[in-house]
């Protein structure tokens, strides 16, 4: 990952803007990338210190300086270094310094450095020059370059452009992202990342579809801190995986007093060109429901139901009754964890404002009874495969009665 020191930006009022690489400068970037990678490949077998010194020798103008440092970092990330034997070097130092200390304490004459090196070198069957070289062979600058796998120069420059955004987010105190995903699973992946990164958020639906997420951390309520910058930077790939993304971040940049605003809207997104694909069990259920014929319309859901402080629920399907247009949202939890079921139960008990049917495998050992008192939600626990007819019965009950589940009603009869 690049650091903010590698980023080419300018400040315009309260905005922080990336400087575009175009025209002659882009051509220069490719040349510099090629030079850096060539020098690295030519230094395989040599020390990191020597490589860095050789890189310093590549002529760049002041405006190309950060670009060059950033590209060098990417080449370095694509290289492999080997450390000298730390134990061996430490052992040598131990021997040399102990002898030197002994001589210094006992010898009334001036300290004789060369004699000490000679003595240790003779003992070890080597030369004083080789001995000196080995003395600090375990330092970072002495690490040996053993391979350089840098990509082609054009790819390196592209990588630099993308890595700059992540480097800026390292200094972010808050991110506002407008996202649009074509599938429930894509939204789920994003919210899973938010939870995994222990970030907090507020969710607002957008008129044109999609959601605006205001993302920061627990302590951000009191102080605008960059503590969550690393997590926000690591969240970027999950945001970029959305079909639509427009991002604005507040960043603490250099010694600027107030945070600056940084805007980003990727032009090319990884995976965005691929059509959304539902999970197999959801696709199978959807097909099964369609085969049932008239009476119900099935469509993929694109909703994020958020209950602040409790969590989100992202249904897979909307089951709409043809006769009155009433809808039930269906989330297929399948074999997920029991914890995810209990979280849905808590959400349902606190009220999400929608009719929700959670579909859970019996292997999770959860009873449908746990939601029997809820008016707006129900559990359908299935054995083996999801039965579309039973699911529809649950949906009808939910819309018409909000009473006990069909199975419980049957048992009661």
């Amino acid at each position: 990952m690049l650091s903010p020191d590698h980023v080419r930006v300018r400040r315009r009022g309260g905005e922080l803007q990336l400087l575009a690489l175009k025209g002659e400068l882009r051509e220069r970037a490719v040349v510099i990338a090629r030079d850096l990678a060539d020098v690295a490949r030519a230094h395989v077998g040599k020390s990191r210190g020597e490589l860095e010194e050789a890189w310093e020798g590549i002529a760049v103008s002041p405006r190309e300086r950060k670009l060059s440092l950033g590209l060098a970092k990417l080449v370095e990330d694509a290289s492999e270094f080997e450390s000298g034997d730390a134990e061996q070097a430490a052992e040598l130092r131990r021997e040399v310094f102990a002898l030197a200390a002994q001589k210094r304490a006992t010898n009334a004459l001036s300290f004789a450095r060369d004699a000490i090196l000679d003595e240790v070198a003779t003992r070890r069957g080597t030369t004083p020059v080789a001995l000196e070289a080995e003395l600090y062979a375990d330092l970072r600058s002495a690490q040996r370059l053993i391979a350089c796998q840098a990509p082609a120069p054009e790819a390196l420059v592209l990588g630099y452009e993308r890595a700059q955004v992540q480097a800026i987010l390292l200094r972010a105190v808050r991110v506002v992202a407008e996202v649009g995903c074509a599938s429930a699973d894509a939204y789920r992946a994003l919210f899973r990342q938010l939870k995994f990164r222990r970030l907090l958020y507020r969710v607002h639906p957008l008129e044109a579809g999609g959601y605006r997420l205001e993302i920061d951390g627990p302590f951000s309520l009191f102080q605008s801190v960059a503590k969550y910058g690393l997590e926000l930077a690591l969240l970027l790939p999950a945001l970029e995986a959305c079909q639509k993304l427009r991002l604005r971040a507040e960043v603490r940049w250099a010694h600027q007093g107030k945070p600056l605003t940084f805007a980003y809207e990727p032009t090319v997104r990884a995976g965005a060109e691929q059509p959304p694909r539902a999970r197999d069990e959801v696709a199978e259920l959807s097909a099964g429901l369609s085969e049932l014929g008239a009476g119900w319309q099935i469509e993929p859901a694109e909703r994020v139901l958020d209950l602040p402080g409790v969590g989100v629920c992202i249904p897979d399907l909307v089951l709409r009754r043809a006769s009155d247009g009433a809808a039930v949202l269906v989330e297929v939890l399948g074999f997920w964890s029991r914890a995810s079921v209990w979280q849905r139960v808590e959400l349902a008990q606190k009220g999400l404002g929608e009719r929700l049917l959670f579909v859970v495998s019996s292997r999770l050992r959860v009873s449908e009874d746990v939601l029997e008192d809820a008016d707006e939600a129900a559990l359908y626990v299935y054995k083996g495969r999801i039965n579309p007819r039973t699911l529809v019965r649950h949906a009808e009950r939910l819309l018409d009665h909000g009473g006990p589940s069909p199975r419980r009603a049957e048992r009661a009869r």
């Binding site: 300086r65 310094f97 030197a100 210094r104 001036s110 300290f111 302590f219 503590k227 250099a254």
Partner: protein, 463 residues
Amino acid sequence: MVVLRFADGTLDVQGLEREQEPPGCEWDPRTLGFRAPARAYAELVLWLRKSGLAYDDQARAYSELEPKLALGRAPRPFQTEALAEFRKAGGRGIVVLPTGSGKSHVAVLAIDDRRRSALVVVPTLDLVRQWYDLLRTSFATEVGIVGGGSYELRPLTVTTYDSAYLHMQHFGARFGTVVFDECHHLPGATYELAAELCLAPFRLGLTATPERADGREAVLARLIGPVVYRRDIVELAGEYLAEYATERVSIELSPDERAEYDIERKVYVDFLRASGVRLGSPSGWSDFLMRASRSEAGLRALAAYRRQRELALAAGQKLEYLGLLLDRHRRDRVLVFTDDNATAYAVSRRFLVPVITHQTKVKERSEILQKFSSGEYGVVATSKVLNEGVDVPEASVAVVISGSGSVREHVQRLGRVLRRREGKQAILYELVSSGTGEASTSERRRAHSAYRSAGARSSDAEP
């Protein structure tokens, strides 16, 4: 029922109406509840009790400390006074005592007095090792370490400021007492969070020099508590600290170095004048860096600045003089301080003495310090990592080859040789290249009472 939860270094407070406004809390629309920095825990709990509100405290995860103080070392009178003042302040406050006077023992007494699981936060890995030994011996129990590749939490744990900043959000509820050693490090955009995200109701800060160049020591009162006790070096010298002298030695650059220094200095100063940068202003240095990065002349001026500084700080004559000092003090324990790693390694290579920098692994550091302590090594070179806290009572000579203009750094370096031993006379040599910018740097860092005592003198280097 009000429910308190520790949530990533904050307190999540559920079950209160918005208009109740608990102290230190703000309404959090993200979770529809109140939230406070974990630091506000004690204040919040006292308010709940005072208000007669029933609450379920799921936040507190610290325990009563089982092991009692096992080592019955009698405290010195000023240590007893410091503990009494800390107690009087409700177990929150800062104790200011000179290096070498036994600040750590005050902390041990305070931890024992409060009897809560305790976390000690220190600036360096060397200090982690030292505190680990101290707590283990004092309480005769195992001690946890977080930092330097370890992550082991125990009722008594030592960590670094860096690790505390990174991990306090995870373990900040597990300690009832927190000790910030060298607490002048705490104010700052990042380290401050180590105190904010910690729930410990009892907080002790230790330092010899709370004052900071940026004036941010004022926030220590909020993060830890007020200064509850203070004694100066000159008050304790002789009785509790070793007698000491300081000697500033002016070193002449060689003719070649002088010629190069003058050329490089002129390039740098001419650029400053031409670009109108005022280094004395608060943003002076960043203005210079920004302007320097924009032109060939600027980059040349930056290189010239670095070179003239390097010539002044690492003048060849300084190493010659160091050779004389090492001969003179061949039977003493000598610490050699430099401003940068390159010079520290140069000293090591030239005089064949061990060096400790941030690159030295913990195991090797421990071994070097142990051998220095036992007398197997007479000299240790270091850049900045031994500036603070490391306890080597046997060290009696400090040679400052180069350093920053920081008063604190200079006082801390002097402190390394002040730990008292019978008949010990400590001395600190400061080598300064005459006729260079380093002379004014030296003036700035000596602005402390410790350098104005009768033992301070200046001399010129022998040819």
